[in-house]
Amino acid sequence: MSLVMDILTICAVSAGALFFLAGTVGLLRFPDTLTRLHALTKVDNLGLGLIVLGLLPQTSSVLFAVKLVFVWLLVQLSGAVVTQLIAGAVRHHGADG
């Protein structure tokens, strides 16, 4: 049983790390602010989500697991809001504003 859990952890965390890598490449390579934001949101949502999902089988208590999910939700919230704010600023003032 623990082997299955470990394999699940390795797969999910690796997939999450892959999203982080892809998002970072996107942040560095994409041409303008809006496409770079698009790359970053994937990291926030899927990358961190997969890493949290992968860490859940390794937690020692339910409380700890709930805390991890809560961290993910808070990052989701702040990521979504900050992305909206930056995109809004770009729309109103241009990329230099």
Partner: protein, 313 residues
């Protein structure tokens, strides 16, 4: 090399790179952004050193609150175009030399420590149980070095007085001019309505848990201040006029209660800032709670800046 040490080396390299770029970037705004990132990475380094209390403080104060204050300073200095101001070579050389001296001093202290390395940690752990506290950091802050902690909170009030004294005469006692957005942004309002209930519970929890686990008044107070500032920045609530009685009472409640308990120590426990046997923990928790409120209000008003408008009657 294990995975952990690879991570540590990478973290140190990243911290050095970010630190260097905070100095080398051309604009003040970019330097502040680098400084905030530097603070967050540094807090990860403290976690790796198992100093979670320091990590929490670094993330809250070093990264978050100081970053906000510096961003405010950058915004305020826009009118003089701070990025085009060139600092003369003598001043730059002097600053560089002093920083190098500090770095050299730290390097000597770390590379050539006296043998045996002086430590008070065993004494702290030995004397902690009578206080009823479980977190040795809280023990040092509120039992063994309580005077330092008291003065630290007074310094915070002095800093606030310094900011307030920048007010023009006609605005004295008026409202601070913190305004980030010209018109209310619906997304930000949504966040300012959703997050504060969570943040307030979290701030109180951090203060409460500080007696036995990492946490404490400063970290909890910073979270509360952040929630307050979020509500102000989103435009849901105006920053209060600095002449308000309730504001000033809240500002001094923590230090005054701390001082009162300290003075009572002379009567009930034979020393200034000593706690009567058996009452240490409840007294410390009471002081921490009052300090959390005062710190939250002081940090919030620090970030809100000097008053710019006279109080509306």
């Amino acid at each position: 090399m294990s995975i952990a040490s690879v991570f540590d080396v990478a973290l140190v390299a990243l911290i050095l790179t970010i630190g260097a770029s905070a100095i080398l970037v051309r604009t003040a705004f970019a330097a502040v952004v680098m400084f905030v990132v530097y603070g967050l990475l540094l807090s990860m380094a403290w976690v790796r050193l198992h100093a979670v209390d320091v990590a929490l403080t670094e993330a809250a104060i070093g990264g978050g609150m100081t970053g906000l204050l510096l961003l405010g300073a950058v915004a305020r200095s826009r009118s003089v175009n701070v990025d085009s101001v060139r600092v003369g070579y003598p001043l730059r050389l002097a600053a560089g030399a002093l920083c190098a001296l500090v770095a050299a001093g730290l390097a000597v202290a770390i590379f050539y420590p006296p043998a045996p390395v002086p430590t008070l940690a065993p004494m702290v752990m030995e004397n902690l149980p009578p206080s009823g506290l479980g977190n040795p950091v809280a023990g040092v802050l509120f039992v063994f070095r309580a005077l330092d902690t008291l003065l630290e909170k007074v310094v915070l009030l002095l800093a606030l007085l310094g900011v307030w004294s920048l007010a023009p005469d006609h605005a004295w006692g008026g409202t601070p001019g913190l305004q980030v957005y010209a018109r209310p942004d619906p997304t930000l309002i949504f966040l300012a309505q959703l997050l504060p209930p969570v943040g307030i519970v979290f701030g109180i929890y951090m203060c409460w848990v500080g007696a036995k686990d990492p946490g404490g008044a400063f970290q909890g107070g910073t979270v509360l201040a952040a929630m307050w500032l979020l509500v102000i920045v989103a435009g849901l609530q105006k920053a209060p006029a600095i002449g308000r009685l309730w504001l000033r009472v809240l500002l001094v409640t923590g230090p005054v209660l701390f001082l009162a308990i300290g003075l009572a120590g002379w009567v009930f426990a034979d020393a200034f800032l000593a706690y009567p046997a058996g009452y240490a923990k409840p007294l410390i928790v009471a002081v921490e709670a009052a300090l959390t409120l005062s710190i939250a209000v002081a940090l919030g008003m620090l970030a809100a800046g000097p008053p710019v408008r006279a109080q509306q009657q």
